[in-house]
Amino acid sequence: MADPKPRVKVPKTASKGDVITIKTLISHKMETGLRKGKDGKPIPRKIINTFTCEFNGQQVFSTNLEPAVSANPYLEFSVKVEESGTFKFTWIEDDGATYSKEQEITVN
């Protein structure tokens, strides 16, 4: 499969103190390790096991994912913003590979 492609949806602007909703999605098969391939052998587990969201370098939300999370893991959560800054989203795969994306927000 093609490389996992992260996508995030963050409002471009917000008012100070607003609670904003952030939606994230990454294209990933989330192979559970329970399925068997055509040769009858189990397909090794390969999932995104950790997701973190940082705002201006401070962690605001994180998730530990298990194989029970669907393919193309979708996450929606909220953050209260007090100042302008940059969100950094990081996805970590079982084999240690990381995928990240940054998004700015203007708070006035």
Binding site: V19, I20, T32, L34, R35, K36, F55, Q58, Q59, V60, F61, S62, T63, N64, L65, E66, P67, A68, V69, S70, A71, P73, Y74, L75, E76, F77, S78, V79, K80
Partner: protein
């Protein structure tokens, strides 16, 4: 000698059959036991109180591969009334753990949504751990028409 042998064979056969039956019977119970263990490990042994945690999910999920699930916890998310983390558990899955959401004082509200796989009709449980160490739980049963755990 011959009769003893035959008896032995019969006994072994009966034993194996009984084992097989027991194995099948306890399987779902085992998975639920795993869910309980997970919850205990998460709460530190305490039994969570009912309430404050709401799960929204469809009553009937046609495709167990992607079941949208939202969880929210009543909390001001400021001062001492802060939800530290919420664990989602699907009782009837081969591995009941689903996801753990870790919130912070910047979360604004303690809620998150995702999409999960469900092997069969079962209860989804969400356990919330507060900053002061107290734990709350909520549950919702979702009917699954086609299971989504591969195989």
């Amino acid at each position: 000698m011959k009769t003893v042998n035959r008896r032995h064979v019969l006994m072994i056969g009966a034993g194996a059959a009984a084992l097989g039956l027991v194995g099948l019977d306890i399987h779902p119970a085992l998975a639920e036991g795993k869910a309980d263990e997970l919850i205990k490990a998460f709460t530190g042994g305490a039994a969570p109180q009912e309430g404050r945690v709401t799960i929204s999910a469809p009553e009937i999920a046609e495709n167990g591969n992607t079941v949208p699930v939202s969880v929210s916890v009543e909390s001001a998310m400021s001062g001492d009334d802060v939800v530290e983390s919420v664990m989602l558990v699907a009782e009837g899955n081969p591995n009941p753990g689903v996801a753990t959401f870790n919130f912070s004082s910047m979360s604004g509200q303690a809620g998150a949504s995702t999409r999960i796989r469900m092997a069969k009709t079962q209860r989804i449980i969400a356990v919330a751990k507060m900053k002061d160490g107290s734990t709350y739980m909520g549950a919702k049963t979702v009917k699954v028409t086609i299971g989504g755990c591969g195989g």
